[in-house]
Amino acid sequence: MNNTNSKPAGLHNVKTMNRLELTKRLVGHLKADEAVIGGIGNTNFDLWETGQRAQNFYMLGSMGLAIPIALGVAIAQPKRHVVALEGDGSLLMQLGCLATVAVQAPKNLTIVLWDNGIYQITGSQPTASAATADLVAIARASGLANSNWAADEDEFDRMFAQALKSGGPTLIAARIDGEPGVGKTDRDPVQIRARFMQGMGAKK
């Protein structure tokens, strides 16, 4: 079996895009102090590079917990839209969170998955999503019916704008290239947490 044949079926018509470019587009849609939870590593670095917002939480460790953290924020603040940015390796580590999100079904939660098929930050070893695991199919089977691959940048824009407007939870997955993250998150967990809480209006 060669790599082309073993590629997840849902990915054949999906363009390989760039995470920083898509993160910029995503942030451009944020007009209502939406919360953004950035998963560890390059996801976080590119979010940092697009400009620091008080409503961004830059998760420094705890691989796999960006979606659970976003779910917690979404439950605490039902009037605010919450976006989780997560990588394929991170999601594969905590797949059960998709089922939990589906059961709780918060209308104000959007999950954005950056899938480059590699554990990029540790040396670009292949993840299961490079070969056989279709993370959108897994999300749908977990109960997140509104889960889709973005075919290209324009479709990503449309899907994300729609997700902010309509009832979630929504999962948008983008196949991305192997370009490393550009920014460098300031690694001060207390400051990140305090700023985020101020951005959420939960702390003076």
């Binding site: 420094l60 917690g72 947490r193």
Partner: protein
């Protein structure tokens, strides 16, 4: 006329409510079942199961940062899955995560794996400097919970309540 003495789980529920702990995320445990049932039955609380304890820690961390107080319920073996989430998220970010652990592995344990994993719990908590209380006495339960929950939020530090079989009755041999 005197009130009926409250059970341990009634005291836990009442103390959570008195401290405005609205969100309860748990991974199920037999001993905690009466508490979990009572929480589900009380509309003050939002209560649901997570698939893993780490996930529950993520959820309550997010909720607290969003302004909602919350707690995690689990058993001893579940706590053993947590060191990374505690060391890389809760402790360095100074998040007042409230953790209730139903203690297995001691005082009549029948499963060697449970007995072994129980031995890891306090060293992990101590090595991370996480405040922890093993509660054995019914008459001390409310005091320990009430004071420690307030301390957790005042000092922005996590706390773990280890509910001993001496308090809860524990899990007993089924045959």
């Amino acid at each position: 006329m005197t009130d009926m003495p409250k059970s341990w789980h009634e005291i836990v529920l009442a103390t959570l409510k008195a401290n405005d702990i609205k969100l309860i995320v748990y991974v199920p445990d037999r001993v905690l079942t009466p508490l979990i049932k009572a929480l589900h039955a009380d509309s003050f609380f939002t209560v649901f199961a997570a698939t893993r304890e780490e996930e529950a820690i993520g959820i309550v961390s997010g909720a607290w940062m969003g302004g909602m107080k919350s707690a995690v319920l689990m058993q001893t073996s579940g706590f053993a899955t947590l060191p990374n989430a505690l060391a890389s998220l809760v402790v360095p970010s100074q998040i007042p995560a409230l953790m209730f652990v139903s203690e297995r592995g001691t005082l009549g344990e029948f499963n060697l794996g449970q007995a072994m994993v129980c031995k890891t719990m306090r060293p992990v908590l101590d090595s991370l400097g996480i405040e922890n209380h093993t509660i054995t006495r019914h008459d001390e339960l409310e005091f320990v919970l009430e004071r420690s929950i307030k301390q957790a939020f005042a000092t922005q530090a996590p706390v773990t309540f280890i509910l001993s079989p001496l308090l809860t009755g524990g899990k007993v041999f089924s045959k």
